[in-house]
Amino acid sequence: MKPKIAFYWCAACGGCEECIVDLNEDLPRVTDVADIVFWPVALDFKKSDVAAMPDGSITVTFINGAIRSDEQLEMARLFREKSEIIVAFGACAQMGGVPGLANLVGRITDPPSAPVSNGNGGFWRLPALFDRVQPLDRAIQVDYYIPGCPPTPQIIRAARDVLLIRRELPPRGTVLAPDYALCSECPRKATRPEDLHIDQFRRVQECILDEDTCILAQGVVCLGPATRAGCEALCISGNMPCTGCFGPTGRVKDFGGKALSSIASLMVGREEEELDRAVEQLPDPAGTFYRYCLPSSVLESKPGGRVS
C-alpha cells in the first residue's frame, strides 16, 4: 500500500504551495509513490475526511505557514493526531517567517468585519487571532523541517526521497538541508576578500551591484555567513543578497543575534560617533536580521510566550 501524505497551510502567502507545483514533471512522481489525502489548494477533501481517519494513518503531513489563529492551531493538532510524521514546510512553519514580524508591533487585534449569515439563523465566526505569531513547533511536536521561503525544488525532492521512497528517517528535529553556511557554496566565494570589511552600508536600491563580486564586499548586507546552505545561492545568482530564509545552521541558538554579530564584526569604526552614524545606515535591524525568524528568537521563547 502506498503511503498517505497531506499538505496544509496556515499563516502563509501561498508560495509554499506554488513551490510544490514547481516540481513540474516531478509532481506526478510524488503521486506515484504516495496518495495525497488532503491538499486544500488543489483537491476537494474536507476536514471531516481527515477527522474520520484512524490516528497515525497519514504517513507524512507537510504543514506550511505560521500559527496565528485558533483555526490553524486546531488543524495543526488534528494533523498531529492523524500523522506519523509532521514536517514544518518552509520558513513560516519552521521559524515564524515574514508574518512573524507582526510580533514587532505587539498585540494583533481582530479586524472589524460584517457578520455573515450561515443560513440557519446564526452567523459564521471568523477564526480568532492570537496575540502573537508562533512557529509550528510551539503548537505541536514537529518531526522534521524543510527550510526556505519557499523551499527549493531540489530540497523538496531530497526530502521526498528520504521520507517517502528510501524511508531512511533521520533523527527527529532534523532540518532537511546541509548543515553549513551559504558562503561555502556561493559562486562568488573566491571574490570574498581575506580582510572583508564594510566602511559604509549601502542598500540594494541605492547601488548597482557588480554581478561577480562578493555582495558583502560591495557594502550591502548579505546574510550568507549566518544562513544555512541548500538553496544553491538562488538570490545571489539573481544578483540579490541573501536575506536568511533558510535560517540558522545547527549550532546557532538565535539566528538574528548571530547574523547581527557577523555583520557588526565587519564594521571598521572605532569611535562612538562614527559607529552611531554607521548603524543608522541600517534603518531596520530587527527586520533585517530576523526577517524570517522573529517568533523563534530566544527573546520570544521566554516562559509565558508559548502556545502550549
Binding site: R132, D254, G256, L260, V279, S297, K302
Partner: protein, 142 residues
C-alpha cells in the same frame, strides 16, 4: 504591599581589566548595589550578541558589558569589536521592546574599582526607575 522592584543585571566583565576592577572594588571593601551578577569572559569581544539575548530571555532586566579602555585591549582589537556589536545590538533591541538603557557598555580598567561601584549603582538606579522588562503576553491556547 508588594516588595519594591530590584532589577537583575547580568554583567559580562573582561578578564584583564573590568573583572580586576571589580576585584579591586572588593579588596577595597567598597559597598555597592548587589544587583549585578558578574560573568567573567576573556574579552569583551567574546560577548556574542546571543549571550545578551539569552540573558534577557532568562529574566535579566539589564545587561552590562565591561571591557578595557580603547587602545588597552589585551587582544588588540576585541573591545572595538564589542563596541561595534553593542551599537547595532542596542539599536535592534530597542525595536524589540528592550529599552536602550537596559544594555550598557563601559570601559573600566583594573585600577578603577571606584568606577565599577559608580557604574553598577547608576545602572541599578536607572533600571529601578524603568521597572521590569515587559514580557510578551502568553498566547491563549484553546
Amino acid at each position: 504591599m508588594s516588595e519594591p522592584f530590584e532589577p537583575k543585571i547580568v554583567a559580562f566583565f573582561c578578564n584583564w581589566c573590568t573583572y580586576l576592577g571589580a576585584d579591586l572594588a572588593g579588596t577595597a571593601r567598597l559597598k555597592y548595589a548587589p544587583n549585578a551578577r558578574v560573568v567573567r569572559v576573556m574579552c569583551s569581544g567574546r560577548v556574542d550578541p546571543q549571550f545578551v539575548l539569552d540573558a534577557f530571555a532568562h529574566g535579566a532586566d539589564g545587561v552590562l558589558i565591561g571591557g578595557c579602555h580603547p587602545g588597552d585591549c589585551h587582544y588588540q582589537e576585541g573591545n572595538y569589536k564589542a563596541l561595534r556589536r553593542f551599537k547595532l545590538l542596542r539599536r535592534m533591541l530597542s525595536q524589540m521592546g528592550i529599552e536602550p538603557e537596559r544594555i550598557r557598555l563601559e570601559w573600566i580598567s583594573a585600577a578603577e574599582g571606584e568606577r565599577v561601584r559608580a557604574v553598577v549603582n547608576d545602572m541599578t538606579e536607572q533600571l529601578r526607575q524603568l521597572g521590569p522588562v515587559v514580557k510578551p503576553e502568553p498566547v491563549e491556547a484553546s
